[in-house]
Homo-oligomer: 188 residues x 2
């Protein structure tokens, strides 16, 4: 196997990650396969397989370098915005590939510092965005929070994440409404 | 590597899993290491490493064959029982080894049928026990459920699981109280 500083491999590596990101953004996580990535990057499939034996790890690296779209740019009413965002997260978590990435990220992070840094970044963005949106909503009188706002990501995303990765059943609107209601008393 | 039907390996395998289960029950998940399991099973460390290169997979197999202690035998008042049980689950999830097992189980289940069967059994027991306890509590007038009782495991355990495996910060009493409150209106 070439070392990390082999310039030929570094070029392939960059091309492979670039192709994976493009496929992710154009066609979604299911498109980030060894075959499609190799074709798009114009490298042999064996090269992709050798460096990323499991496609979900490659997808994880690609995901870590694209902007996180969820819970960005809150709109008012906050409850409607939150329902749309949580529904979008739920649809992603219902995809096998996203489930694979999130569990791989959580598992690998326990013994790999780079993956742990990605996990922390990912979790911190979601927690920060949701806390800020809910603090603003409370300041506007839209909600009286039942919990500290930094707990909101765990309270809102946790049940969907458990449903998706542990119970492995689809996330329905009833569960999403329940998590929204659990955040506090909505005024409208 | 010996095949699965090699009688010598099958004997070692049984001894290794037996030792892992004993260590798990006597000393907790952190004790299920290659070294301690090999010593207890009276087999060479190399044998344990060869068949379970990652200790958390061995721990996962051992865990799958011991009784699941959580949420068993509800007592009244249900809210106090639930607080104790969720606190016990939280303490387990705060252990690195248990985090490793749960994420390994969730991840490996995506491509391994045996692991998926264990995941389904594990999730089904938790969901069934909590739903039954809450239905009984509602029948006694202790709570008016805000959610279908089969959603309770995701609502109660999900936030702790997300906090532990994605946010990687300790589960505090505030989060546990918030999940208990989210299940419905408690009468006392």
């Amino acid at each position: 196997m070439p070392t990390e500083t082999d310039p030929r491999f570094l070029r392939s590596r960059e091309a492979i990650l670039h192709a994976a990101r493009e496929l992710l953004l154009e066609k979604g996580p299911a498109a980030v396969t060894h075959v499609q990535v190799a074709e798009r990057a114009a490298v042999g499939r064996a090269t992709v397989y050798r460096h990323w034996p499991r496609a979900e790890v490659l997808l994880g690296e690609a995901m870590a370098t694209v902007p996180m779209p969820f819970l960005a740019e809150p709109t008012v009413p906050t409850r409607d915005w939150l329902r749309r965002e949580l529904t979008a997260i739920a649809r992603q978590l219902d995809l096998d590939d996203v489930r694979a990435v999130s569990t791989t990220l959580a598992g690998t992070a326990l013994w790999d510092e780079n993956m742990d840094a990605r996990r922390a970044q990912f979790a911190g963005i979601l927690r920060g965005r949701l806390a800020a949106a809910l603090d603003d909503a409370q300041a506007r009188g839209e909600i009286t929070l039942a919990i500290p706002s930094e707990n909101a990501a765990a309270m809102a995303i946790g049940p969907m994440y458990y449903r998706s990765t542990i119970e492995r059943t689809p996330i329905d609107a009833v569960l999403i409404e329940a998590t929204i209601a659990a955040l506090g008393t909505w005024s409208a």
